[in-house]
Amino acid sequence: MFEILRKTLKTGTVTTQYPDRPETAPEGFRGKPELFPDKCTYCGECVKACPPGVIWLNEDNDGKTLTLSYCGCIFCGRCEEVCPGDAIRLTQEYELASKTKNDLITIIRRKI
């Protein structure tokens, strides 16, 4: 009995204050992928490397469009690894929940 009390007191409170107090994910965490439109060359390397296939490259008369859905993203960071121009990076952002799927898409365009 005393041992249990001792252990309880020694441990103290461990409960997190989230979400009242924001908590950042540790450095190196693979969260929401961010695209940098000025760096992207629309080469399509990330499209080829994505395991669940949630990055698409479209070309039409107006220009090129890169669409990334982090809805089915597995946050593996392959896109970041293969990108020749550092145009995609996985950030520490993890609060991604959304009521619509459309919010879970990032689109960048380059007009001709």
Binding site: G28, G77, R78
Partner: protein, 522 residues
């Protein structure tokens, strides 16, 4: 491998061996189809070699037939013998070995479902993977089956074993359970409280993983391997990567080997802590459960700060690892030393508690002969006196250079399984400490550009036990990938472990065996 085994087989069965082929520590012997039962029986009983996997391949395009592989492990030699038979499409039957080797049961039923090859003489030829609404003559792992097809649902019935008698009734449980666990169906036949019979029915989480392996590129397949059984991500990824590296003949850098070892042991730590927390929860020892859960969470947070993933995902790749964890040495070692003390205090209190002892001692006994017959692996097997550990018997990563004990107990009850895990926690801590003291500077991966056509076994000791991959590559793609999760071996054990126990003890027994549904169903 010592040739005495192959010599002895040749002497005994010389006339039935059609082909012989050795690669690495694997010896492939193709025998006549009708002799497979005899040869397997000989290997199993004469050499005491456990059968670790049975799987089929569809090689109709290249060799004009299906092939079945029976993989035997020679633990003392760190070698494998693979018996192969060819099966013509026109006569898709093979002799069942289940009546000689009980652990073959589910493998043969799996082959029947996925390839349409019929195990003749199988004592229980019901469906295993495909449900009753799956159309006949449609076999997912045949090469002419397109992964995108959605076969129509047909009418069918699955018949459960029945126990009849006065006062006997059935309790169906699942697939959606009361707790936060995976889906599966359990059907108890009980008279009063004691369980007379339990039949488990799985495959609710069948996601077509093996077929998916054949449809994605090899570098992406590592991430799929991580998702076969989520809490054993590292072991699956390592086993898969090792198979590919074996095929490519690549030697990975020492630093990568040690990093993999550290990751594998971190995975074992949080799994074992979680299992102990689960057992404490199920025996209503709330104090122990809260603390064990806290320790598990601490390790998972450590994982996240070191690798970016709480489940250690995304670390392994063909040829090594993706991130160097050298910078985290201090925080890992610091955390482990505090964990060591914290955990030992907790275990002392847990095992001293009469209410815990009362619930876990003699509960859910899995006797050694049954465990051996079913080829129960991992901590569950070691708690029933089975002295096997892939890390020691088939050393991989850096395990050959590190010292560790393999805790084995004989009583086979929940208590033994809890204690084996608790002992393994200390071994894991010591292994990580040793690994950090011996790790050397250098590259963390080698680049493997081309993967030649070939096949090989990859294996790792997951927290649940021996995990086995057999991969065959062709033109830089995967031709066939057989995944054998430890749970595929261990699930049947629960039908025996619960006998004569009362229904309220089922959750503890289930938890103590720590079985993955996803790894089993794939």
């Amino acid at each position: 491998m010592k040739s005495e085994y192959t010599d002895s087989i040749r002497k005994e069965f010389g006339s039935v061996i059609l082909d012989e082929n050795v690669s690495h520590n694997e010896t492939y012997l193709t025998v006549k189809r009708e002799s497979a039962v005899k040869v397997c029986d000989y290997l199993y009983h004469h050499f005491d070699a456990p059968i670790v996997s049975i799987f089929a391949t569809d090689e109709r395009r290249t060799d004009g037939c299906f092939k079945i592989h029976y993989v035997f492990s020679l633990d003392k030699e760190d070698a494998f013998i693979i018996i192969k038979i060819n099966i013509d499409e026109k006569s898709p039957v093979f002799g069942s070995i289940t009546h000689k080797i009980p652990s073959a049961n589910w493998y043969e039923r799996e082959i029947q479902d996925m390839f349409g090859l019929v195990p003749k003489g199988h004592p229980d030829p019901r469906r295993l993977i495909n449900f009753e609404d799956w159309p006949p003559d449609s076999y997912p792992l045949r090469k002419d089956f397109d992964i995108r097809t959605k076969p129509p649902r047909v009418k069918g019935e699955y018949v459960y074993r029945r126990v009849e008698g006065e006062g006997v009734y059935e309790i169906p449980v699942g697939p959606v359970h009361a707790g936060v666990i995976e889906p599966g169906h359990f059907r108890f036949s009980v008279a009063g409280e004691p369980i007379l019979n339990l039949e488990i029915r799985h495959s609710y989480t069948h996601k077509g993983v093996e077929k998916l392996f054949e449809n994605i590129s090899i570098d992406k397949a590592v991430f799929l391997a991580e998702r076969v059984s989520g809490d054993n991500s590292v072991a699956h990824a390592v086993a898969f990567c090792q198979a590919i590296e074996k095929i490519a003949g690549a030697k990975i850098p020492k630093r990568a080997k040690y990093t993999r070892t550290i990751l594998l042991e971190l995975e074992r730590l949080y799994n074992h802590l979680g299992d102990i927390a689960g057992i404490a929860t199920d025996v209503a020892y709330a104090f122990g459960a809260a603390h064990a859960n806290r320790l598990k969470e601490e390790v998972m947070q450590l994982n996240e700060s070191v690798t970016g993933s709480r489940l250690l995902r995304g670390m392994n790749t063909i040829g090594g690892v993706r991130r160097d964890i050298g910078g985290s040495e201090e925080i890992i070692l610091e955390k482990l030393s505090s964990l060591n003390l914290d955990f030992s205090e907790l275990m002392e209190l847990l095992f001293a508690s009469p209410s815990v002892a009362d619930r876990i001692e003699t509960t859910g006994r899995l006797y050694n002969d049954i465990a051996k017959g079913l080829h129960v692996v991992g901590p569950a097997g070691r708690a029933s006196g089975i002295v096997r550990d892939t890390r020691r018997d088939h050393p991989y990563a850096a395990y050959g250079e590190l010292a560790f004990d393999v805790p084995v107990l004989k009583s086979g009850d929940v208590n033994a399984r809890t204690r084996v895990r608790s002992d393994e926690v200390y071994e894991s801590i010591s292994l990580i400490e040793q690994a950090f003291s011996r790790i050397s500077d250098g590259d963390i991966k080698v680049n493997i550009r081309e993967i030649p056509d070939g096949y090989a076994l990859g294996y790792a000791e997951a927290p649940r036990g021996e995990t086995l991959y057999w991969v065959k590559t062709s033109k830089n793609m995967i031709e066939r990938c057989k995944v054998r999760d430890p749970s595929f071996c261990n699930w049947l054990a629960i039908e025996y472990a619960v006998l004569d126990n009362i229904v309220p003890d089922f959750p503890i027994i289930n938890k103590s065996l720590s079985l993955s549904y996803s790894g089993n169903d794939m």
